[in-house]
């Protein structure tokens, strides 16, 4: 049984003013209570996808469709979108040090978001802020609210960031590499926190380059390569039985947790294409070990089962 | 590195109409000022001699340089006004019966000469201080920075005025060096001195970061002497910052020179500079405004061209911005 999708992205394309295409057909969806891991190398367009959903790229022209809670976002007026931002959808950024305004206290910045969307007094907003920080496991939340970003540790800052994102109970939470800038022990705590949120019913979109993070905290995964989604499915399916050659190569490059350590990890030869040199056929074909003549035509997404899709000619009819 | 970047700046010029216009404007002003003696000889005036009883030709008639005043009592005399026609006294006469147009051209020579040499001297001094403080660091840096702090605390114009009031008209005796009482060297040295802190700060910061740059470390690692590092590594790179500061410092120097001359503390009569002509024209402001207005326009245009040039250089050579 499939849940009603909360967010549905169809064939999203993003172009620079000079015509270079940064995203070239991103299709994915997130349902309430699901956690979608969006995986790809740097430059594959993961963050751009997230920013497009949030509407934080005013200078780039987006084509395709982004439907959120049955509303088409791309044709929505900026004023309407702004009301959604921060209240219905919220974002957690990679580096909580630079993402907070350095010159105002953490609490003041969380209060601001609350009061932007809810008619609360300064005092009530602060009470809510303290409660949120406490829920995120910040020790002495009242004191922490009065501190400036540089006075908190990286883990606490990221907890505060999550508290801020959750302050208006958003239906969709987008986390852009939320653990990359953190220590390994703190990483695990943050991931547990995200999992709890998902279990409470929010939809989560987790942007990462780390398959390990996906395995730990996601229910679904979408693999992005050079601005194109090449494979989607549940985490169990994709990790145990990767279909797309790129996903296979990606998983092969992770050292096994148990068993004998291999002498060398396999690598993918070559470099991902830059936007101006993206192949017109399958985007992975120049590096693909199983390349065939019919790869010269961009393959469609093929449904391989319940929610499982792959864009590769190997699985064609 | 510098050469490469300057070439790029020249390439970019085609796209920057403002910068090209500023360059042409500046060249025009410099040429006009240089041709001052030519102009004076051509129209046949002596811009330095007082000539209260003189006459000149206007529309075929002989007119007095000093006209009866047009106030009801006809008390005193008013200099001849401008007729804006080519020829002698095109901009009228000043209160001494001298040709204003010729004086503005001669004044431009002095103003530009003082501003240019003062800014060169200022940058040279600031560069030396910057290298000593920034490259050698330690107590040299502490002492030099404190001295700059002290100089910076005195408002620039007050500093210049203080130095001028004790030297202008009296000259300066430093051991064997004697500077004459009305030598242009006095305003040049004074103006250069007061802007040293302004130019030295960014240069010191640049030298400091250069001293810690990897290529300097590498040179030191190869056993290069301090002198060699300063000459071969630091100076060529510091030159970029100095080139960027050049037009901006010259603009400041020109404004300072005009202010000092306006206060009678710069160029001394009968020589002229744009500032001193404005001072001459102050008393005639309501009757013969051209005397004060025209040299002011010359200052504005020159400083404007220098500022545009400086900003353009800064945008291209030093995007992070030296000195504000």
């Amino acid at each position: 049984m499939r849940a009603e999708p909360l967010l549905q992205i169809q064939d999203l394309r993003l172009e620079l003013p000079d015509g270079r295409r940064l995203l070239d057909g991103v299709t994915l969806d997130v349902a309430a209570g699901q956690s979608l891991g969006v995986v790809g190398e740097s430059g594959s367009g993961k963050s751009l996808t997230a920013m497009s959903v949030m509407g934080l790229l005013p200078r780039l022209k987006a084509k395709g469709s982004i439907v959120f809670q049955k509303h088409e976002l791309l044709s929505m007026r900026e004023k309407e979108r702004r009301k959604l931002r921060g209240s219905q959808m919220a974002m957690i950024f990679q580096d909580p040090m630079t993402a907070f305004l350095p010159v105002r206290s953490i609490g003041a910045q969380i209060d601001e978001q609350i009061r932007l969307h809810q008619p609360l007094s300064r005092h009530e907003a602060r009470a809510l802020t303290v409660k949120l920080l406490e829920r995120m496991g910040v020790p002495d939340p009242e004191m922490a609210a009065r501190r400036y970003p540089h006075q908190l540790s990286g883990g606490l800052r990221q907890r505060a960031m999550i508290a801020m994102a959750l302050s208006c109970s958003p239906a969709l939470l987008i986390a852009d590499e939320p653990t990359t800038a953190l220590d390994v022990t703190v990483q695990a705590q943050i991931l547990v926190l995200l999992r709890t949120l998902r279990e409470e019913g929010a939809g989560v979109m987790l942007i990462t380059h780390d398959m390990g993070v996906v395995a730990q905290s996601c229910t679904h995964v979408a693999v992005l390569y050079a601005g194109v989604v090449v494979e989607r499915g549940t985490v169990v399916d994709v990790l145990q039985q990767p279909l797309h050659p790129y996903t296979q190569a990606l998983l092969a490059a992770i050292p096994p947790l148990d068993g004998p350590k291999p002498e060398r990890l396999p690598t993918i030869p070559g470099q991902p294409p830059v936007p101006e040199a993206r192949p017109s056929g399958c985007v992975f074909s120049p590096r693909c070990p199983k390349v065939r003549p019919d790869c010269a035509v961009r393959p469609d997404m093929i449904e391989m089962g319940e929610g499982r899709r792959v864009a590769c000619v190997l699985y064609g009819a | 590195m510098l050469k490469d970047r300057s070439l790029r700046w020249l390439d970019g010029l085609r796209a920057r109409k403002g910068t090209v216009a500023a360059l042409f404007l500046l060249a025009g002003i410099v040429l006009a000022s240089l041709s001052a003696p030519l102009y004076a000889a051509m129209v046949g005036v002596d811009p330095f001699a007082s000539d209260l009883a003189g006459t000149t030709q206007r529309g075929g008639q002989t007119v007095d340089l000093m006209q009866p005043n047009d106030n009801p009592l006809h008390l005193g005399l008013t200099p001849l006004g401008p007729d804006w026609q080519p020829g002698p006294y095109a901009l009228g006469s000043d209160s001494q019966g001298r040709d204003v147009a010729a004086r503005v051209l001669y004044g431009g020579r002095n103003s530009l000469l003082i501003a240019a040499t003062a800014s060169l001297l200022c940058l040279t001094l600031a560069g030396m201080i910057g290298i000593c403080a920034g490259y050698f660091g330690g107590w040299v840096d502490i002492i030099l920075s404190r001295i700059l702090d002290i100089m910076w605390a005195i408002p620039v114009y007050l500093f210049a005025i203080s130095l001028s009031v004790v030297t202008v008209g009296h000259g300066l005796r430093l051991g064997p060096f004697v500077i004459g009482a009305d030598s242009l060297l006095i305003p040049i040295v004074i103006i250069a001195l007061v802007y040293v802190p302004y130019a030295a700060r960014p240069l010191r910061a640049r030298a400091l970061s250069l001293a810690q740059a990897e290529f300097v470390m590498a040179a030191r690692g190869m056993g290069a002497s301090h002198g060699r590092i300063v000459l071969r590594e630091i100076l060529p790179n510091l030159a970029t910052t100095m080139v960027v500061l050049g037009p901006l410092v010259m603009a400041l120097c020109l404004l300072a020179e005009s202010a000092l001359s306006f206060l009678s503390l710069g160029v001394q009569a009968p020589a002229a500079s744009w500032g001193s002509i404005i001072q001459d024209g102050e008393g005639l402001l309501y009757t013969r405004p051209a005397v004060a207005i025209v040299p002011g326009i010359a200052i504005v245009l020159t400083v404007l061209a220098l500022n545009v040039l400086g900003n353009s250089l800064r945008d291209h050579l030093d995007p992070k911005g030296a000195g504000r």
Partner: protein, 327 residues
């Protein structure tokens, strides 16, 4: 905290001492510039020169002269003018201070207001023709000698267009004390302060524009937009908050320099009897003690203002509250 404060105060005193030595040496120890000859005037007989030298103590060693001068300036405050016999210098400077303060306050009001407006407008409309025009106007303002601009203003408002509806309200040159007539005070200072502010507006707008555009690229601004903040809030609340640090430090320095006599040229052109004009009058009569007193007071002003800016800085930017030395 107290230690930092004390070391700051110690540095300040050191700089003030350095300034006093520098200013004293300019006036009384410049080689070849004998103050005795200044006071005696040209062609004075050797007897007169000798008497003056003894009377003013110029025959003593320089350090003793220095100490006596500083004592008269700061301790007994009875330094008298060499020119107007018996006129004490310090009260004269203090009496002129309110005029300068009024002028500079008005000018600061115009230049902060103007540059905020222009800076934000041209940053928001960057690379549009409005931005370009505003920036060109700013550079023109920066390029005008203030005394010349003042004369142009006087020419039109006092003489050429004085009888038109535009400038018939302009009072004749001079100052009206606030206590006497507040409205007259404001009218008398309006044009002089606007003239004084004109060069600063362009510079400050330019600095603010660059800083704002730099700040708008920061991650924290993206966060603000992700929170759902509107453009006005993002620019004015978040953007300005990040970018006015260098603006504030620039402002403090210029404000102090103007208060300390940097507004001399404006005061001279508009006949405002402030500290600057007092210095100017001292120039005409070569009244060295008077000039020295004003220069010294202004320098101390600048040093104190600098310390204040550092304090404000720590309030504005909590990151440097920990330790921030000298600059």
């Amino acid at each position: 905290m107290i230690g930092a404060f004390l070391s700051r105060a110690g540095q300040m005193l050191l700089v003030i001492f350095g300034i006093s030595v520098l200013v004293f040496s300019i006036f009384f120890a410049t080689p070849g510039a004998d103050p005795t000859a200044r006071i005696a005037g040209r062609g004075a007989s050797p007897q007169v020169v000798a008497r003056i030298r003894a009377e003013y103590g110029f025959d003593r060693a320089l350090p003793i002269q220095y100490v006596r001068m500083m004592e008269k300036l700061f301790v007994t405050r009875d330094l008298t003018s060499y020119v107007d016999h018996g006129e004490p210098v310090v009260p004269e400077v203090m009496g002129a201070a309110p005029v300068t303060l009024s002028l500079v306050l008005w000018a600061a009001f115009f230049w902060v207001g103007g540059s905020l407006l222009i800076g934000v407008a041209s940053a928001v409309l960057r690379d549009s023709w409005i931005d370009r025009i505003l920036m060109v106007l700013g550079v023109i303002g920066l390029s005008m000698p203030v005394f010349w601009l003042g004369e142009v203003v006087n020419l039109f408002t006092q003489s050429r267009w004085h009888d038109t509806w535009m400038f018939s309200w302009v009072p004749s040159l001079g100052y009206v004390p606030f206590s006497q007539n507040p409205w007259g005070w404001a009218k008398a200072l309006f044009l002089p302060s606007l003239t004084l502010a004109s060069s600063f507006i362009g510079l400050y707008a330019r600095v603010l524009r660059a800083e704002l555009l730099g700040a708008m690229g920061e991650d924290s601004i993206r966060t603000a937009r992700a929170k759902g903040a509107g453009p006005v809030r993002v620019w004015l609340w978040h953007g300005l908050r990040l970018s006015w640090l260098s603006y504030v430090s620039l402002f403090g320095l210029d404000f102090a320099q103007l208060l300390g006599g940097g507004a001399l040229l404006t005061e001279v052109v508009f006949a405002l009897p402030g500290v600057g004009r007092l210095t100017y009058q001292g120039l005409a009569t070569l009244d060295l003690p008077l000039i020295m007193a004003t220069v010294m007071y202004s320098a101390i002003f600048v040093v104190v203002a600098n310390a204040l800016i550092d304090g404000i800085y720590t309030l504005l930017d909590p990151r440097i509250a920990g330790g921030r030395n000298a600059r």
